[in-house]
């Protein structure tokens, strides 16, 4: 459960992480203190290799699906409005129309007609 309490918290809880390593050989361990309880835990490869969460950059528009750029409707430096057509991305047998998500000015176009792009590729940057 979350730890919202009455006006007077009953116990003071220390939330410090103790970064002591405690493994042997390839196995790395870590001691954690969460809500006053001490845990000893093994770090998995998945944990160590995980991608850190980053605040999404509102200035970039990325492809949600892999495909081929068929047509680009705008030029760099152009002012655009939300819902304006940006480009046509052919993917899954469909000429998908990609629109601008909000008003702004196009700073840079990162793709060209005919490019095959992968999922997540940056399409354009706003100024």
């Amino acid at each position: 459960m979350s730890t919202q309490t009455l006006e007077q918290p009953v116990t003071t809880v220390s939330n410090k992480t103790i970064e002591s390593e405690c493994g042997k050989g390839n196995i790395r361990c870590k001691n954690l203190v969460v809500n006053g309880t001490k845990y000893k835990t093994r770090l998995t490869t998945k944990y160590e290799k995980r991608k850190k969460w980053e605040l999404p950059n509102r200035k970039q528009v990325n492809a949600l699906i892999p495909g081929t750029i068929q047509k680009i409707f705008v030029a760099e430096g152009q002012e655009v409005k939300e819902g304006d057509e940006m480009l046509i991305l052919e993917a899954m047998k469909m000429q998908n129309r990609i629109m601008f998500p909000y008003d702004g000015k196009v700073k840079k176009i990162h793709v060209a007609t005919g490019d095959r792009i992968s999922k997540g590729a940056m399409l354009i940057e706003y100024e």
Partner: protein, 514 residues
């Protein structure tokens, strides 16, 4: 003491308790842009219809000096009332009383109204605005959560359960909304997460705000935990009323019937769908061209938008729509859209709502991330849900229906009662390009001009198989219809399926690929 004085005393007591956490706390609540729990209940229900219970309940905690503290109503308001003259049970956590924290009596009030709802078979609306467990009450407060979750589960599929998140809903507490049918959130007010930003920072070392972690937008667009997003509380309450107009009060009843109305003339379905199968369009306009008054009430609009689900009326009666959306990600089936469709199909099946499926999809989305995210398991949910559903099922293939996507989207083979196709339909084992490359591999590779041969074979395949008539010849589809006939045909099919009865093999329950 004369009775009059006693009545006076009662009135005074009532007034005092109804103030919740007192003026200061109410001011704080207002400063956060939130209504009080009582205001919320009164604005959702019909005027003068609210009947409150357990107003004078008090907590029984003794430790940590709690015996000296009085918490009005123990931080939650419960009662019954009506919405559009239909009875509902409702509870609202009161953040002004000890942060809406959940102790044992608080939980007992909630479970009391939940028991009422199940017994009287009426919808349950829960308004969540709570900091979480009341730590001073220890394991008793955990027991309270457990009792709520159990009732959520037992009531599931019997009565509609609606959760409205109007404040924080954190830790284990979020599992109650997660077990209910529909979750409503409001921008800047709703916050849902299992572990908050502080714990994440301590354990993982990542810094994130509450809003970015589990705000209304995140829950509606990224996670799919929420079904309806509103800008403010007033809009949210209107959405709740609209939803309730479409769904029945329990699983024995049918939804309310309204006066039938024709769709608006601007939604002429024939003009909405482009003939070229590579051109996208908004499937929602096709739905609007089929339902009464073009009134389509979409569920989970912002999440997995490559699948459109929602309610409309046909001949005044509620129908559930499950449709591919060519406008988003070409309308592919993927992990999230499968999840979304499957759950909605099961909802409609539980509550006697006929299902209309509109098909236009290229298939499942290829990709490592999809495979590794378990698209096999998630995609299987759609097959399971359609096969299991015994309500009337009518499917219309608008354009593309290829491969596994054709089977999954309410096909005859999963026991759709009626399957129709427009003349623009392409029903085949796979798209012409792929199919020709496999079937005519030899001819293509040994030809003098392989590219020319490939194009020719693709064309041949397209002409022969990318149409509805091969499937029609086998009876897999019942009829090829003109787009403008669709509404008439759907109305007829729903009408003739009213007495539909199916007996399934005896079992306790199946094991869906959760």
């Amino acid at each position: 003491m004369p009775l009059k004085r006693k009545i006076q005393e009662l009135k005074k007591k009532r007034e005092e308790v109804q103030m919740g956490g007192g003026e200061k706390a109410i001011e704080k609540q207002m400063a956060m842009g939130k209504l009080t729990a009582r205001e919320r209940i009164l604005s959702i229900l019909d005027e003068d219809s609210f009947n409150e219970y357990d107003l004078f309940v008090e907590h029984d905690a003794r430790d940590f000096n709690m015996d000296k503290k009085k918490l009005h109503g123990d931080g939650v308001i419960i009662g019954t009332g009506t919405i559009d003259y239909c009875p509902v049970c409702i509870f609202a956590q009161d953040f002004t009383v000890a942060g809406g924290s959940l102790g044992s009596m608080h939980a007992r009030k909630i479970t009391k109204i939940m028991d009422h709802a199940l017994k009287m078979k009426m919808p349950l609306i829960g308004i969540n605005d709570s900091g979480g467990a009341r730590i001073q009450e220890g394991v008793n407060s955990l027991a309270g959560y457990g009792e709520i979750f159990f009732r959520n589960t037992i009531s599931s599929g019997v009565i509609p359960q609606i959760s409205v998140i109007l404040g924080p809903c954190a830790g284990g507490a979020v599992y109650s909304p997660a077990l209910t049918d529909f979750v409503f959130v409001v921008d800047n007010i709703s916050k849902m997460f299992i572990t908050g930003p502080e714990v994440i920072k301590t354990v993982i070392g990542e810094e994130i705000s509450m809003e970015e972690l589990g705000g209304a937008r995140v829950q509606s667009e990224m996670t799919g935990n929420a079904h309806f997003f509103a800008e403010n509380e007033k809009d949210c309450f209107e959405q709740i009323k609209s939803l309730l107009s479409f769904i029945p009060p329990n699983n024995d009843k049918k939804s309310k019937v309204y006066a039938p109305k024709d769709p608006k003339p601007e939604f002429k379905v024939e003009n909405i769908v482009p003939g070229d199968p590579t051109q996208p369009y908004d499937i929602r306009n096709v739905i609007r061209g089929l339902v009464d008054n073009s009134d389509f009430f979409e569920v989970q609009e912002l999440w997995a938008s490559n699948m459109v689900i929602g309610f409309g009326r046909m001949n005044g009666e509620t129908v559930g729509f499950v449709c591919n959306q060519p406008l988003v990600l070409a309308g592919v089936l993927d992990v999230d859209s499968s999840d979304k469709a499957a759950r909605f199909i099961r909802y409609c099946d539980s509550f006697n709502i006929p299902i209309v499926t509109l098909v236009d999809l290229p298939g499942y989305l290829p990709g490592v991330d999809q495979e590794h995210a378990g698209v096999i398991r998630h995609g299987a949910k759609v097959l399971y849900a359609y096969s299991e559903a015994t309500v009337p099922k009518v499917t219309v293939i608008v354009r593309k229906a290829y491969g596994g996507g054709y089977i999954a989207m309410g096909s005859r083979h999963l026991r759709a009662d009626f399957v129709f196709a427009w003349p623009s339909a392409e029903i085949a084992v796979m798209g012409p390009e792929g199919a020709a490359n496999i079937i005519f591999r030899k001819e293509i590779t040994t030809a003098e001009d392989p590219e020319k041969m490939r194009k020719q074979k693709v064309k041949e395949y397209k002409e022969k198989f990318a149409n509805p008539y091969v499937a029609a010849a086998k009876g897999y589809i019942d009829s090829v219809i003109e787009p403008e006939e669709t509404r008439k045909v759907l109305l007829h099919c729903i009408d003739v399926s009213k007495q539909k009865q199916i007996s399934m093999p005896r079992k306790k329950h199946g094991i869906p690929p959760f």
